[in-house]
């Protein structure tokens, strides 16, 4: 039995926990404001909000309901466009209306829901942040300029919030329905009542955030027996222990970007994360999922390879430690037993002489999958390279460290000649293929350019 609050209504359902939330709200609750656009998290027409208690704070996140199983909203608050409607238009809807930010209207509920997510967050009320909240919503009609203007107005509405709790502010100021003020209490009660887990004993499938498995195996997962990893408290959290950072396997990309540790040691983290999918996907996609998915172009995989991360697996009894660089045996094949579960990832935080950079080029800069991505972790001693790890994706069947290149670079002086030579050697590290993301020739050229970009960027950053 799955229980949650849907808008202002308590839900208890015996429907399969593997069913996606989108199907549940549209075809079982007949809330048709949430639209089906792409079924793979790439358009945002099905965006919903999910609220949950985190450290006694009510925290709302947007997500793509086409990729979210019911099991991942157990004990939470789900908000659809219908849950945002009041008498007349709310200020978000009014802004969209006034700016003519809707044409065919099919994507519109998704935009309104995403903007409501901005209003329910503790983000500073800037236009830039409001626009960031809709970075996962595709509109084919307007050209977005009118939506940008509407987002600006929504940001203005939120400027008065100051330090007030978002849920309280939006309900008191008639931005969202008044009943939002009571949700926190209701979630407390619900959690006390549930006081248990939703874990079948004989699961055949494991699901974290669902952002990849629900694209690949949508049809089979619906009725499968699923172990839900997303809300497993033991797999959450990003902490610092000594000079190492420990990331729980179910930490989301959003958790990563908001982590004080990560922000401290990676001053340009926000720029990198902006290149990784979109807000609603980052809210549910897990770090562990990105690694285990074994995509040759997983952004966080490349990021963590350059940091020489270490993985801890558990089969329920024993634990095993494995360097990430040894995980990938071939295309989508892993050094991992079927009963082993990734528990955490750790890596050494960069020291004073170590710099890091992440590069990604795709057809569309944001919300796209890389043609080639690459990360560098570079430790300098004076003008010579003491240690370096360059990792790259999209250039081989697996995401990988460029071993020959890295070996060559160690001990070299940092010069244009060194970089040119490294780029030439990198060509022997890789075996790209032509596919929808680019020809092999392009990927070869691009990797070289990204290596050049790494050095130009770290040098420029060092000068600042």
């Amino acid at each position: 039995m799955i229980q949650f609050i849907l808008n202002n209504k308590d839900i208890s359902t015996n429907l399969p926990p593997g069913m996606v939330l989108l199907d549940f709200v549209r075809y079982h609750q007949h809330l048709t404001g949430t639209k089906v656009g792409c079924n793979e998290g790439d358009c945002g027409a099905c965006t919903l909000l999910v609220g949950e208690l985190v450290n006694n704070e009510l925290q709302y996140r947007s997500l793509t309901s086409c990729l979210t199983p019911l099991g991942n909203v157990h004990g939470k608050h789900v908000v659809t466009i219908e849950g945002l409607n009041m008498d007349g238009l709310n200020p978000i809807q009014q802004a969209m209306y006034d700016e003519s930010a809707t044409q065919c209207g099919f994507c519109t509920p998704g935009f309104v829901v995403s903007l409501a997510g901005f209003c329910l967050s503790d983000k500073t009320a800037t236009t830039q942040n409001a626009i960031a909240a809709i970075d996962g919503n595709i509109c084919r009609c307007t050209g977005y300029k009118s939506i940008e203007r509407a987002a600006g107005k929504v940001a203005q509405v939120m400027q008065a919030r100051q330090s007030a709790e978002p849920t309280v502010f939006v309900s008191e100021n008639h931005i969202l329905p008044a009943w939002f003020a009571g949700i926190k209490q209701r979630l407390h009660l619900l959690q006390t009542e549930l006081n248990g887990q939703l874990q079948p004993t004989s699961a055949t499938e494991w699901v974290g955030g669902g952002t990849d498995v629900y694209v690949q195996k949508h049809d089979t997962l619906k009725d499968a027996s699923i172990k839900f990893l997303f809300d497993d408290a033991r797999l959450k959290g990003i902490t610092q222990q000594g000079n190492r950072c420990i990331i729980g396997a179910s930490a989301t990309v959003t958790n990563l970007s908001e982590s004080p540790v990560m922000q401290q040691y990676f001053p340009h983290l926000a720029n990198y994360i902006k290149l990784v999918s979109s807000t609603p996907i980052r809210n549910i996609a897990t770090v562990g999922g990105n690694l285990i998915n074994a995509s040759p172009i997983g952004d966080l995989t490349i990021f963590l390879l350059a940091l020489d991360a270490t993985l801890i697996f558990s089969n329920g009894g024993e634990s095993r430690t494995l360097p990430l660089r040894q995980l990938y045996k071939g295309y989508k094949t892993l050094d991992k037993q079927p009963d082993e579960q990734l528990e955490s990832i750790s890596f050494e935080l960069p020291g004073d002489n170590t710099v890091f950079n992440f590069e990604k080029v795709s057809k569309r800069t944001n919300l796209d999958i890389a043609s080639v991505n690459s990360a560098i972790c570079l430790t300098m001693q004076g003008n010579s390279i003491e240690d370096v790890r360059i990792a790259a994706g999209g250039i081989a069947p697996v995401p990988k460290l460029l071993d020959k290149t890295n070996t060559f670079l160690k001990g070299q002086p940092l010069s244009d000649a060194t970089i040119d030579q490294a780029i030439a050697i990198a060509q022997t590290d890789i075996s790209p293929i032509s596919d929808a993301r680019g020809t092999a020739d392009y990927k070869r050229l691009l990797l070289g350019q990204l290596i050049k970009a790494h050095f130009l960027t770290v040098t420029a950053n060092a000068l600042r």
């Binding site: 792409c38 793979e40 044409q103 084919r140 694209v215 057809k363 069947p397």
Partner: protein, 769 residues
């Protein structure tokens, strides 16, 4: 006035096809598409699929009660493949089951054996083999042959544009409900209700008066639902007719992308000659249109390519030939611009090729050759040109000279970033080029409480046509908009409609509505005139009251209507409008096919990151010929949206088929349209309020398609930025200018480099679905 649908849109209360409450007993369809692009079906086995729980029936071509044919212009397209398949995704069987999941599961169990036949994906190859959809067409003005000797500069070249996926966010779909007396009602997400009615009638073997097609609204169309909604409607209708149950089919995105056609890719050879003064003396162009496996609307698209092959320029000697080439891709179809953009891209490429060779800015040639009023188009119509006005206003208003200088200064100062700036004038003809389609009807009822209901042939798909039609009625009756309701588009209420297309929907249906409302208002005014014994001209309707001789009376709209009813005056009208003046003789390829033209000029600025090959759209500054806009909110939205869609076509949107004709860019993860971060930082739009009378509704010129072509400027701006970095590089005119093509061009030094994205294998693709 805001779009009348905006209120329910922002609340999620607008009803689209998939939102219609289901009738009990509704079954669900899913189609099985051919796994190969070309071959002969030797065996089709549906037994395993049919045995699955929930499967009600599996329909093949043998079950068709009428004719297995949905081709509109040319009867060359079976609904369900019989013995041959012509493209990957061509429907072979249609599963009907009691749930969507059951239908889709069954599709996966259908087995087909197909003997493969050679696959053609390249239109030039098709043309060489004589695989043409219709005979070649040639437009001619003057004589190019004898003109070359007058030219100081002659350049030849080739240019290519790729296709474009419509990516309406609402996928295709239909819901068919059997009615009594063998009739059938079909809810369809279509731009062409009559096209659906005709296709269903033909496939089922039912007369058209038994086929009711109803359209509430579309979640985007862009041309993709002009002809290609027919397939799904016909499949659902056939199934519903056979099993006597309602049948619904709302396509999965990947089915939609794989099974439907797109904007036509074109390849072209051009030759352009200029005199000492940089006047274009002669232009020859040969177009190879990639039509796909069936005609669909390709012959009409081809025609518009020819109509727009000289864009905004006057060229005294033109010879333009176009081939519609049959390949084994899904039949390509209408897409905003309808062949016009491809024609314009080629002439802009020719001009740019000349400018690059001569070492001058393309804008110098563009400006010298702009159409003047009275100039003749290659198809014989004389221009009422606003091209120079738009151009000169844009150049002055936005200070093109300063923009140009800033770009040069930036490029001199920056090694790794380069800017490019291009001008893109646009001239687009308004009217269906098939003259008979330029007619429309409107049915207006005034009820005795003063409320007004209107039905027209127009389909609302976000373009705001219903808002404009409502404005027409509100203006004629001089009543508040909330007294008027625009009803669904329905073939039982309005017959023989033209599709909502060609930017002409508001003009045609608005004019018909204007006529209907004027007729009713006229009868009411006549009644008052007789009653008060004044001249009819002395009676006016204003602000919901009757005015006589400029004086407000105490008779309000509601009591006027009631009085009319009491006097047995007709309060309903069904009006018919046909665009006057237009004609075209296809045997001579001459005539006056367009009611009017829309003009404009855009200045497009970009910045290229020369290390990564990525780029940003900095600015698009436009002067656009609105005539006299009747709804600026709607019209500005059309322009901004059109520009971004055009930029998408020219930059990141890349339709990739492999050599076997299989779509590789088959999902939103592999086909990218602009997101909010990809759009120009600035879009400025200035109105050119043109004083001339025209055939537009209330002189408010059509605005749907023309702005898309401003986006073409993005390609040429990117090209300039790349050439600022790589002065010696040569690279082909080949759109879209993806980051891949930009990077390759930045670092190419070959004389005639050929940079084509292609595909070897997909095995390593991260989302290999």
């Amino acid at each position: 006035m805001k779009n009348i649908d905006a209120y329910t849109h922002v609340r999620g209360e607008s009803i689209y096809l998939d939102d219609i409450p289901l009738i009990q007993g509704t079954l669900f369809g899913a189609s099985f598409g051919s796994p190969v692009a070309h071959g002969t079906i030797t065996h089709l086995d549906v037994s395993e699929a049919a045995a699955l729980p929930g499967v009600v029936r599996i329909i093949t071509h043998k079950d068709i009660t009428g004719e297995n044919q949905i081709g509109g212009i040319v009867p060359d397209e079976p609904l369900l493949a019989d013995h041959e398949v012509h493209f990957c995704g061509m429907p072979v069987a249609f599963v009907v089951a009691d749930s969507v999941d059951a239908a889709r599961a069954a599709v996966k169990k259908i087995k087909v054996t197909i003997e493969s036949l050679p696959v053609i994906t390249d239109p030039r190859e098709a043309q060489a083999l004589g695989e043409l959809i219709v005979p070649a067409r040639t437009f001619q003005l003057g004589d190019t042959e004898s003109s070359w000797q007058q030219c100081t500069h002659i350049f030849e070249g080739r240019a290519d544009t790729n296709g474009q996926e419509h990516l309406y966010i609402e996928t295709q779909g239909a819901y068919a409900v059997p009615q009594e007396h063998n009739a059938i009602k079909i809810y369809s997400s279509t731009q062409g209700p009559t096209a659906v009615q005709r296709a269903v009638s033909r496939v089922l073997g039912l007369p058209m008066h038994l086929v009711e097609v109803e359209v509430n609204r579309l979640g985007g169309g862009f041309g993709g639902k002009e002809d290609q909604a027919n397939t799904w409607a016909a499949l659902c209708a056939l199934a519903a007719y056979l099993v006597k149950k309602p049948v619904k089919y709302s396509l999965h995105r990947m089915e939609d992308m794989a099974m439907t056609g797109k904007r036509h890719p074109y390849s072209a050879d051009f030759k352009i000659g200029l005199n000492d003064d940089l006047k274009i003396v002669a232009y020859e162009v040969t177009f190879y249109q990639n039509a796909g496996a069936a005609a669909d609307l390709s012959p009409a698209v081809l025609e518009r390519t020819l109509f727009h092959c000289t864009n905004s320029y006057y060229i005294p000697n033109v010879k333009a030939t176009a081939y519609s080439c049959r390949t084994h891709l899904p039949p390509n179809t209408a897409f905003r611009g309808f062949g016009g953009p491809q024609g314009m891209f080629m002439i802009e490429s020719a001009i740019t090729k000349a400018a690059e060779a001569l070492g001058i800015d393309a804008s110098v040639i563009q400006e010298k050759n702009l159409l003047q009023t009275g100039d003749e188009f290659p198809y014989g119509q004389k221009a009422q040109s606003e091209a120079p006005e738009c151009w000169h206003k844009a150049i002055a208003l936005y200070d093109f000279a300063s923009m140009h200088k800033e770009v040069e200064a930036f490029n001199a100062a920056n090694k790794w970033f380069k800017k490019g700036l291009a001008c893109m004038p646009v001239c687009f003809g308004i009217s269906f080029t098939k003259t008979l389609m330029n007619q429309a009807r409107s049915l207006v009822h005034v009820y005795t409480d003063g409320s007004v209901a209107i039905t027209t042939g127009a389909v609302e798909m976000g373009q705001g046509v219903n808002t404009k039609i409502l404005q027409v009625a509100a203006q004629v009756f001089s009543i508040q908009p909330d007294k008027i309701k625009i009803h669904t588009t329905n073939t039982f209420k309005i017959a023989n409609t033209s599709p909502s297309a060609a930017s002409a929907t508001a003009d045609l249906n608005g004019k018909a509505t204007l006529m209907a409302c004027t007729a009713i208002a006229g009868r009411l005014k006549k009644m008052i005139a007789e009653e008060l014994n004044v001249a009819m001209e002395a009676v006016a309707l204003q602000d919901e009251y009757v005015w006589v001789n400029g004086q407000k009376t105490d008779r309000d709209w509601k009591s006027l209507v009631m009085a009319g009813h009491v006097k047995r005056i007709g309060l309903s009208e069904h009006a018919h409008y046909a665009t006057p003046e237009i004609h075209f003789d296809a045997t001579k390829e001459k005539g006056h096919p367009f009611a009017y033209h829309v003009y404009g000029t855009a200045l497009v600025g970009v910045t290229v990151d020369c290390i990564r090959g990525t780029y940003t759209m900095d600015t698009v500054k436009v002067v656009h010929d609105f005539g006299a806009s009747m709804n600026t909110a709607v019209d500005l939205g059309q322009i901004e949206g059109g520009i971004v869609q055009g930029i998408g076509w020219m930059t990141m949107e890349e339709v990739v088929y492999d050599a076997n004709g299989r779509l590789r860019s088959n999902a939103l993860s592999t086909y990218k349209v602009p997101d909010i971060y990809a759009v120009p930082k600035e879009i400025a739009i200035e109105f050119l309020q043109t004083p001339h009378d025209n055939l537009a509704i209330f002189r408010s010129k059509a605005v749907g398609e023309p702005p898309l072509m401003y986006g073409i400027g993005a390609y040429f701006a990117l090209r300039k930025a790349v050439r600022a970095f790589n002065k010696n590089g040569h690279f082909p005119f080949d759109a879209p200018m993806t980051p891949e093509k930009v990077l390759m061009a930045l670092y190419t030094t070959q004389k005639e480099g050929s940079i084509h994205a292609h595909e070897e294998t997909i095995n390593h693709l991260a989302v290999d679905k």
